[in-house]
Amino acid sequence: MANVTGVVPTPAKNAGDVRSRAARLIKPGGTRGGRRRSLTPYLFLVIPVGLLVLLTYVPVANMFFYSITDWDGLDKTKNVIGFDNYVSVFTEPDNLRVFVVSLYYFAGSFVQMALALYFATLLSFKVRFKNLWKGFLFFPYLINGVAIGLIFLNFVKPGGGLDSTLMALGLDSLVKQWTGDPDVINYTLAGVSVWRYMGLNFVMFLGAIQSVPRDIYEAADLDGATRWHQFRHIILPSIRPIVGLSFILAISGSLSVFEIPYIMTGGANGSETFVIRTVRMAFVNNKVGLASAMAVVLLIIVLLVTWLQRRLVPDEEVDIV
C-alpha cells in the first residue's frame, strides 16, 4: 500500500516509538531531506520508463511514421505518400480475406471459454487429485508456441499420431488431410489454438470462482440448491467481469493469431492470418510502409473493440446475495 512510493520503509505500522524515531532521524535534514525524498520516486522510475520509451514508444512512433511512407525496409530514403497504405489495407481483397480466417479462431475461442468454464466449475468442487488435474489442464499454456506448432505438425501429418489414433479406434472414415485440405485446415489450426490457450482461461476462471466465499455455497446447500443452481446463481454472476475480460482477449487474440499457423503452415493453403500477412508484407514483399499501416490498423481495431465492450457491458458491482 504505502511503500509503492519507495520512501522510508516503516515496517512496524503500529509501533509508535519506531515511527517517532524515524521522524527524528529525518528532521535534522530539514528541507534538503524533503527534496531528496520527493526526487527518489522519479529516480527509481527513470530506468523502467526510459526502457519503456526506448523499446516501445519510440518504435511505435516510428511505425506510425513508416505507415505513411513507401519504405521498402532497406532504402536510405523514405517517401511520404500520405494515407495510400491505409487505403490499400481496406481495398485489396487479399488484405480483407485474412479477416475471414480470424473468424475461425474467434469461434474457437468460444469453445475454449466453454471448456475452461466447465473444467473450472468442476474443479472448484471437491474432486480427487484436484491439483493434478489443474496441472494437466494448465500445462499446454506453459509450452512454447513454436514447440506446440512442431508437436502438432507431427501429430496431424498424414499417418501421424491423430490418424493412427483414429485408425486404432476403427474410425478410418474420419481420417483427413488435416492441414492439406483447404476446407479443414483452419479448423485444425483453431483447434490447436484452443488446446493451447484453454489452460489460461481455465486458471482465470478458477481463480475467480475460488474467490467466492465458501459459506455462500454452504448456505445454498442448506437451501437445497443443486450444483446447477449453484453454478447458475452463484458462480456465473461472480465471475462475470472475468468472462468479459476473456471475451475481449478472444477478439484481440483471434485477430492477432500468429505463431501456431506460422509454424505449422506459414500461412499457406488459405490459413493466412492478419499478422502473418503483415509480416510477409514487411519482409517478403518489402512493403514495410504497408505492413506498418496494417499493424496500426490492428492496434486501432483492438482499442476500438475494448472501448466498445466497456461501453456495452459496464462493470457492475458484483452482488450475488
Binding site: 536510405k76 498424414p158 517478403v284
Partner: protein, 444 residues
C-alpha cells in the same frame, strides 16, 4: 473490480505493441554512405569479416581450410572471421540498415540494382570484368559491377534414373504435356512413388520454379520483354508454360498427397531411394541429392539431371546464372583484403567445382556430373536490362504484389489446383491483372 477493468485495456494493447515492435525493430539509421577510395591498391593485411549463407560449410570445417589457404597466400592477413548465418536473407537485410554487415558478404535478393551504390563498393567496370567473369549483369548497375557470383547454376530437373527406368521412360520429355504423361506413367507403374515433389512446406523450392523463365522461349531477353507485356500469363509466354505445368501437375494429383507436411531434408532421401520421381531444382541440388542417395545405401549414379521439358527449334535450353554474388561492404575499413578474398575465392578456392557448378570464370571447367546435361541443352545467359531500366522489372514486381521470386503466389496456384476452386484461366487472369496494374504503377 477496478483493477480488472484497468488491466483489460492494458492487456489488449500490450499484445499488439509487441507485434508492432517486431515490425519497427528493423528501422535503420539514415546516414549517407560516403564512397571511399577504391579497393584495388595496397597489400592485403589486417583482418576481415566474411558473412556466408553456407552454415554447413562453416560447421564441417571447409571454411577453416579456405581461411588457412588464404592466409598462406597473403601472410600479412591476421584473421578472417567467417560468420555463418542461417536466415541469411532476413538477417543480413536487417543488418544492412547499420554499417556493420561484414567486409565481404553475398548480396541479398531484396536489394534493388539502384540501391547497390548505397551499400556496396563498386568492383570495377562490368565490360572490363566480363572478360574474366561470367554472369556479372545480375548485380551490375550503370556499367559498374558490384558483385561476382561464387558459382554458376544451370536450371533443369533432378530425377531418379531408376524410377524413370521402371516407368519405361527412355527419353527426356520435350514438351510439358509429354512430361505430364511421363509423370502419369510413374504414378501408374511405380506405386508408392510421388512423381513430382514440390517441397511446398519449405516454400523456397517452390520459388525455384521462377528460374525456368527464359527457357521455353529460349530468349535471353525474356525478363526485359516481360516489362513490356500486360499479360505474361498468356500467349504461350514462359510464365504461362511454367505455371501452367505447375497447375496441371497439382490438379492431376501428380505431386505429393499432402503438400503442407513436406520435409526438405527427408525429400533428399526419398529421391535417393526412388520414393520421389522428380524435383524441379537448380543444378546446385545435385551433390546434395547424390549424397543422400549414397547415405541411403543407393548409388550416386541413380540421380540424373534433365532439361526443362520444352524445346525451341528442336533443342533443349537451360538458363545459366550466378548463385549468390560476393560484394564488399561500402563501410568496410579493409577493402583491399576484402577484394583479395573475393578474387581468391573465385580463382583458387575450388568452391565451384566442389559444388558441381559452373565456374564463374569464363574459362572454368565443366564438372563431370553436368557434362551430359550441357551436351544436350544449350545454355542461355540472360541479358541485362537496358540502361535506365535496371530496376524496372523489380519495381513492377513489387508494385504488382505478385513477387515472382517468392513462393507465395505459386503456392496459391497449387492450392487452387488441388482444391479445384479456381480454374487455370481464372488464376492466370488474376496474375495478368496484377501484373498490368504493377506496370501502370511502376510507370513503364
Amino acid at each position: 473490480m477496478r483493477s480488472i477493468r484497468r488491466r483489460r485495456a492494458v492487456l489488449g494493447t500490450t499484445a499488439l505493441l509487441s507485434v508492432t515492435a517486431l515490425l519497427t525493430a528493423c528501422g535503420g539509421s539514415d546516414d549517407d554512405a560516403t564512397s571511399q577510395d577504391s579497393a584495388s591498391a595496397g597489400t592485403p593485411s589486417g583482418s576481415i569479416t566474411v558473412l556466408t549463407w553456407r552454415t554447413d560449410l562453416v560447421k564441417d570445417g571447409t571454411f577453416d581450410k579456405y581461411v588457412t589457404a588464404f592466409k598462406a597466400k597473403y601472410p600479412d592477413v591476421k584473421d578472417v572471421k567467417v560468420e555463418g548465418i542461417t536466415d541469411y536473407e532476413g538477417e543480413v537485410k536487417t543488418r544492412m540498415s547499420t554499417d556493420d554487415y561484414g567486409d565481404v558478404l553475398a548480396i541479398v535478393g531484396s536489394v534493388k540494382p539502384q540501391q547497390f551504390q548505397q551499400f556496396f563498393e563498386p568492383l570495377g567496370d562490368t565490360a572490363e570484368m566480363s572478360k574474366t567473369y561470367r554472369w556479372l549483369n545480375d548485380k551490375s548497375y550503370e556499367g559498374k559491377a558490384y558483385g561476382i557470383p561464387v558459382v554458376g547454376n544451370v536450371q533443369g530437373i533432378v530425377y531418379n534414373k531408376k524410377v524413370f527406368e521402371q516407368a519405361g521412360i527412355t527419353e527426356f520429355p520435350t514438351t510439358p504435356d509429354a512430361f505430364i504423361a511421363d509423370l502419369q506413367a510413374i504414378k501408374d507403374k511405380v506405386p508408392g512413388t510421388d512423381p513430382l515433389y514440390t517441397n511446398y512446406k519449405d516454400s523456397w523450392p517452390v520459388s525455384a520454379w521462377e528460374y525456368y523463365r527464359g527457357i521455353p522461349s529460349a530468349d535471353p531477353d525474356y525478363v526485359n520483354e516481360m516489362t513490356t507485356w500486360d499479360a505474361p500469363w498468356a500467349d504461350g509466354h514462359d510464365h504461362e508454360v511454367i505455371d501452367g505445368l505447375l497447375f496441371d501437375v497439382a490438379s492431376k494429383k501428380l505431386i505429393e498427397a499432402d503438400p503442407t507436411t513436406t520435409n526438405w531434408e527427408q525429400s533428399k532421401q526419398l529421391l535417393g531411394t526412388g520414393k520421389i520421381g522428380t524435383m524441379l531444382l537448380g543444378s546446385w541440388a545435385i551433390p546434395q541429392m547424390q549424397a543422400a542417395a549414397v547415405a541411403a545405401g543407393n548409388s550416386a549414379d541413380d540421380i540424373g539431371y534433365m532439361p526443362f521439358p520444352a524445346q525451341k527449334d528442336g533443342k533443349f535450353h537451360a538458363t545459366a546464372g550466378g548463385d549468390y554474388n560476393l560484394a564488399i561492404n561500402i563501410h568496410s575499413d579493409n577493402k583491399v583484403t576484402a577484394r583479395a578474398w573475393i578474387d581468391w575465392f573465385n580463382n583458387d578456392s575450388g568452391y565451384s567445382e566442389s559444388q558441381v557448378g559452373l565456374s564463374p570464370l569464363i574459362d572454368g571447367a565443366v564438372p563431370a556430373a553436368l557434362k551430359d546435361f550441357t551436351d544436350q541443352a544449350e545454355l542461355i545467359t540472360p541479358n541485362p536490362a537496358p540502361a535506365g531500366k535496371e530496376s524496372l522489372f523489380s519495381d513492377i514486381d513489387t508494385a504488382s504484389g505478385i513477387i515472382l521470386t517468392d513462393a507465395g503466389y505459386r503456392k496459391k496456384i497449387i492450392d487452387d489446383a488441388r482444391s479445384g476452386k479456381r480454374t487455370k484461366q481464372q488464376v492466370f487472369d488474376d496474375l495478368n491483372k496484377a501484373w498490368a496494374k504493377g506496370r501502370a504503377e511502376a510507370g513503364s
